[in-house]
Amino acid sequence: MREYIVETEALAKHYKRAAAVDGIDLAVGRGEIYGFLGLNGAGKTTTIRMLMGLVRPTAGEIRIFGEPMPRRRMAVMGRVGSLVESPSYYAHLSGYDNLRIVSTLLGVDEAEIRRVLGVVGLSPADAERKVGQYSLGMKQRLGIASALIGSPELLVLDEPTNGLDPAGIQEIRELVRRLPREFGITVLVSSHLLAEVDQIATSVGVIHRGRLLFQGPIDDLRAHSAPRVRVEVDRRDDAMAALRAAGIAADTDSEALTLSSVRRDDAAAAVRVLVSERIAIYRVAEERRTLEDIFLELTAEGAVA
């Protein structure tokens, strides 16, 4: 059996009016970068807050490193670093002093501060400045640095690239990718951007309206999210037969055909076949699927994990 670093069972949080999280079973394996994907308000942050012991679950169970939470919180949280929602910091203190507070709380040596500053790429000069003067990207990096103090085995990052410019996003992405490789850290990273999760995660959980719609390897989600070429024609059945005879992979629904390949040659070949069969082509368009489309598709399939 696989070793799970984070596991939840029917985890739920109900507020007066509605269920923010409605019975989800997470399973995050060791050494993974687990992308926790969902639109804003889907329940990502509430789930993460429950994992961290900040919010009390209404129902369900949480195990981190196999230990029941929040019962074993004190033992577990020393091995977890987190960045929940926006970065937290004490603006009136220097970056170094912010980290000193964390190292004092965790009872680790101050040498650790220089190490994590190096990992996130904050210079000693930056560390001496007050955090109030930092750019958002620097605050984000300081937040990750503070989460890395004490060499945690699990790092939980909630929307770590929110509000960053493209260069900052790229930097954080590369940093997150390095962590499991270099330090053996398991990373749980939430995002509302499909492309973001697609680029860094090894496995993924999709949450929608408090429910987990999908959970599994990133490649399985890619199958759902890959772009397709849609072709609208007059005689769909004849067109399908012609394509099949020509060895071109295609699919059909009530409105149009879809080609699995988005390569230009393949599209041209398909059009050639259809024209030679005198099938009228109304439209050929690439269809990029948004997160909403995937949610709709997953919901329609009833693929509730």
Partner: protein, 239 residues
């Protein structure tokens, strides 16, 4: 707990705290005149201790309470702190100890200021009424404890900085009136420090009766301190 106290010290805005601690004594040094004309140490006690205890002390304890929560209320500090391996009740206790340390520091400075005012007026050491001063200062320090606990409980819940302070000042202003009422005075938390300054036959050599000490001060402390602690330990952290 020691680590938590150390982090509270690291987080404290030292300059601002010292300015707040030093403000009242400075005002007093400037405002008071000469006590050399036969008025003696008692007059120094009443002028220096009373004005401090009836207004400054209950307001300042509230300012300190707001100050130690300020760093967490800004920029998501609560989740940052509480997602660490810390117990919430210890966080709460560390904050309270920090508040009371600042109150005690302010008290010590006030005591020294009163001495300074007396010595400046040419009053001698030999006539210094230790009993009067020690009873008053020690008593008011104990009497402010339940109030400080109440103020901390409110400050931890209330994200606004000005809110708890405004409320606190509003409630502190009538403390002298309340203190003069034999009926309501003993029950009004903001009046406790000044009441403990008024020399009277009390319990354990303090200026308060055994009923006041046990029921109001100890009882009030237990209620406010543990009430605030339990509320903080159980609540969800969304900030």
């Amino acid at each position: 707990m020691r680590a938590l106290l150390k982090t509270e010290y690291l987080k404290l805005r030292k300059g601002l705290s010292l300015a707040i601690v030093g403000a009242a004594p400075t005002l007093l040094l400037l405002a008071t005149g000469d006590y050399g004309g036969g008025e003696g140490w008692e007059a120094v006690y009443y002028d220096a201790a009373f004005s401090y205890a009836w207004l400054f002390l209950p307001i300042l304890s509230g300012v300190y309470a707001a100050l130690v929560c300020r760093a967490e209320h800004l920029d998501g500090g609560w989740k940052h702190l509480l997602a660490r391996p810390v117990r919430r009740w210890r966080v709460y206790a560390a904050k309270y100890v920090t508040v009371m340390s600042l109150v005690t520091l302010g008290h010590a400075v006030m005591f020294a200021t009163a001495l300074l005012i007396g010595l400046r007026s040419g009053l001698g050491w030999t006539s210094f009424p230790w009993g009067l001063f020690v009873r008053g200062y020690l008593g008011s320090l104990i009497a402010v404890m339940p109030l400080a606990a109440l103020q901390l409980a409110v400050s931890m819940r209330w994200k606004s900085f000005a809110g708890p302070l405004g409320l606190n000042v509003t409630l502190a202003l009538p403390s002298l009136l309340a203190a003069q009422s034999p009926k309501y005075g003993p029950w009004y938390p903001w009046a406790q420090p000044v009441l403990a300054m008024v020399p009277s036959e009390g319990y354990l050599g303090l200026n308060v009766s055994v009923t006041t000490l046990v029921v109001i001060i100890c009882g009030g402390f237990v209620l406010a301190f543990f009430g605030g602690m339990i509320a903080f330990s159980r609540g969800d952290i969304h900030a």
